[in-house]
Point group: D2
Chain length 327, copies 4
């Protein structure tokens, strides 16, 4: 395997949407998810979502199950979006009690991450945003996000906090929306343990180019801490197999990850709504990532440099075509 | 009131999405939804969704409740998308048994609609589509949709079947996707009781102009049977208050509805995920529709004709600005 | 070569846009364009654009030059969009004189096409549309388009008229916008010599899936007459190298072209704004098309059938991955 | 007039695109443009584009003409995008000579701006970007943009440099693409005379909310220096009348401009491709802006605060509806 692969446990669970609320495939126990994960060649880490896979009562049991199944805990996603009480915001809620509550949930996740040696949490502020005009006091929202992250950063400097951005869904507009805006925020927090979790599909939705996201995070603070991998048709968070839509952009992305020295997890974040065989989904995801990484490895570094110096699109196309197809 | 307003019952219920599966606001009984609907000035009809509001056991009881609350039944949405068994398709499923089952569900809805005098069902083929390449045999799918609709049309020619289209969600690509494609299909079915339910948000998602949708359905078969009303930011089915985003396009739309003689329901299809006060949502929706209809009524018909003959964008802007703002 | 390749002559010319009006690369004579086309292995046909490459005075001379350079004339694009006088519409202009004039321009193109044995013209109604609300009387516009096409069809039944659709640019909304709407129009014209020219980029812009476009045109009248090939990032008509963005969708597209028996031209419609070496652009386009066609040929037809019957996305992904990458 | 209105001179000129290269309306002299601008009630400033309206030979004459016609010079747009030599980049070109040349062009514009008391230039890096993968060394590009801006900033600290961003067109991807990314860059330059020119249409294209852009620039450096005003359908830079599409978002935008104390120009940046009467275009633009500003002024500040504190979408809708429609 060319990379250190993980999966968010939901990949092995049942996915619902607003129409099919009970989920497209049968509900599964955490044990069943882990058993499936073990059947996938290449996966060595598992991420868990607060509220879905873990809660205050079962979290230590879950961690033991993950270890027993032979996996590392790759990250803890704090419980700040899976419950209706967060629907009007978390760190940027206008309700002081909710803000406090959300910060505490991130600290709980940090404590779990610290206790297990995983040392990584990834908060996503999916409910902090607006749907209609005149629904948010943007200035206050930035302040609250920055203050909350600062407080969490100091809670335990050994735990990395990788902020995940997304332009929309579930709000029509999410405040922490793009690579650049997230850099503005985390660089104002200005703590070495606060960085970014790049969800590739979320960047696609914002018409960002994945390779450029990697470069931007390198240049403005070396802030790429973690990866959530999936692809989509650019207008929505379809959470599809990595590389299944924007195949060539993934080769450029994998090249820039290597070029900038990314050594972290390649964590699968695929929502397999209609796929009954979850092992097949993870296996196919890794097959694509390995095949595209092999194509990336076929790029001649000197030719890459020459092409970038030339800015010549046709040389660039030939380069990537030969890497992909061999001729 | 300038129009005959209805609401899909879900407007008064609790809305969930893939993150907050239990719904953002508390679950509500059908009685509670009706009680709220009664508080909204202007609503005289209610639409129900098979699998959510009605099923084979309670459907007649529900119809009685609606009548008792003083409402007409405005339409029955057949139970062909709210259950996981439909996740791989309905009328265009590759599974013959599922195709048969789905057709029967539409007939069940038609029987209910016939028995109550509502005489209107609106099937939506949201699961008939594809997510990845090589996932659908398109040619077979068109045949199956046309055959299934034909069989339903003959089941009871007195019941109108208004097909609702949508470009995406829950599939990344839905087969019955646009005004024009739905016209191709229903015109091949070629039965007077098969037409179209225009969901304004679904048309927006496909970069369609609402007024033009109305004209297209007029011109190619007089097929506009029903309206589901909501607005969005064009990239997704945000199901927002009608007119809250594309305000001017709604004035043109209301004008063309009148121009082409639409006399049917104005049915609200708003998903009020985060709104606790559902009465306020329906009231605000009707307030916008009434205000924009009043603006439309201020258009001088001769000036409209003169502007359309001129094709002059600035005269068109002045026309709509004065209608909206009075100066 | 797996296909019969052509190129619109503009590929070998200079491209301008609204910022760089003089063009990014030096202006080129028609002779220079043809000389370059001869250097590209695989191209056997040339398409010309009325107003750009041909006019009433030089058209016969141009045809002779094309033949002398060893090319077939693959199509004539009528002069109905390259002059400011068409800016307010052509077949659907509110100006009767302009409508007449535009129809005559298509007939002139048809006469040229008939006289040379090419027997193919491809009108594009890029200026027939609207930018603002209340700018078009849609009902009249459909009538005029249908009438105009009918008159042209009867002008010479031996000349194929392939209508090219596009959702936007240069108007913010173009009337003849999608595969389905164009089918509605040409099927109302109902003449065997009136069909569709699928510009793959234009379909992409409308969130259409290329393979499905092919199936739709097969099913509703067998109307795919011609292909203009290019790719884009889905939001605009970027006119890029075929397959350079939506690589996997092109494999499905090539499969469906073969499956439905398309035997016509594969005509390159790439706008190489910034590429000085036009031979490289055409060569690279054909290299991609040949490589993706080779991948398509590696698909096992029985496995394709089995995958389509299953609707299983992971089998579909494995199928296309192995065809593309061999493993 | 509620604001200080200006117009980019191109509003009164002829607009071309890649299809109609000679322009949709007749070419006009600079005198004719100024004469038309004088007919528009409300306009007091004119912006000029290097390469289109001014060059090294005529720039002082142009400035005199503007003053003589009774206008202020509102800004100088440096000559770094209207000539084919910039097609492969300017400040971020891989060609050192081009980078030097582009920086000098901005300094020339700064000198003109300084000499006239306008003290404002607005560079747009529309050609610094990529079309295909592997076409840009992003890391070098950021460095070059930052260095170039730094050098210009020091050239004359009295001249404000407002950087205009845009996500795409003419490149499929432009490097300086969003409010947040531009803030990252100008805040690294870290000079008081380097800020941002918000083109409202460019922000729309990137799914940004205008009011939030204003807040973001306030919060992260107080960097809103200038405004270019137009609207579009969100997918492309349609350069339409301000407020003609996203009417309600403009009310929120105008509110936040006032709230954050913006006192600068309201400069019209409308491309009136098909409008022969340019006076009507500017007049209609100002009519919309004045009408929407009047609506904004009708907002009760205490109610705005209460709504923002509540985050209640329905109260927010009622607020904006009453402001717009009075009831």
């Amino acid at each position: 395997m060319k990379h250190k692969y993980a999966a968010i446990a939901v990949l092995f669970g049942s996915c619902a949407d607003r129409y099919v609320l009970q989920g497209y495939t049968p509900q599964r126990s955490f044990e069943e998810m882990l058993a499936d994960a073990r059947k996938v060649k290449g996966i060595t880490g598992i991420e868990v979502i607060g509220g879905w896979h873990i809660n205050d009562r079962n979290q230590h049991e879950r961690v033991r199950q993950i270890a027993k199944a032979g996996f590392e805990l790759a990250g803890v996603i704090p419980e700040i979006w899976a419950n209706p009480k967060w629907g009007w915001g978390t760190f940027a809620s206008t309700d002081k009690g909710i803000r406090r509550d959300a910060i505490e949930r991130v600290k709980v996740a940090m404590d779990l991450a610290a206790g297990t040696g995983c040392n990584h949490v990834s908060p996503w502020f999916g409910h902090d945003g607006w749907d209609y005009v005149f629904q948010m006091d943007y200035l206050k929202a930035y302040d609250w996000i920055v203050q909350g992250l600062g407080e969490c950063a100091e809670h335990n400097p050994k735990v990395k906090i990788s902020v995940e951005f997304k332009p929309k869904e579930p709000r029509t507009h999410i405040l922490v929306s793009s690579t650049a805006k997230t850099l503005l925020l985390v660089n104002e927090v200005n703590q070495p343990n606060v960085g970014i979790n790049l969800d590739t599909g979320h960047a696609n939705m914002g018409y960002e180019t994945l390779a450029e996201c990697v470069a931007l995070m390198k240049r403005f603070g070396n802030k790429l801490f973690h990866l959530h991998l999936n692809d989509n048709y650019r207008l929505w968070d379809d959470d599809m197999i990595p590389g299944s839509v924007h195949t060539l952009e993934w080769i450029e992305f994998l090249h820039w990850l290597e070029r900038t020295g990314y050594k972290g997890w390649f964590s699968l974040d695929v929502f397999a709504f209609r796929e009954k065989n979850k092992v097949a989904v993870a296996t196919e995801s890794i097959a694509w990532l390995e095949a595209l990484s092999a194509a990336t490895a076929r790029l001649d570094p000197r030719e890459v440099q020459a092409v970038l110096r030339s800015g010549d699109a046709m040389r660039a196309q030939r380069l990537v075509r030969k890497a992909l197809l061999g001729h």
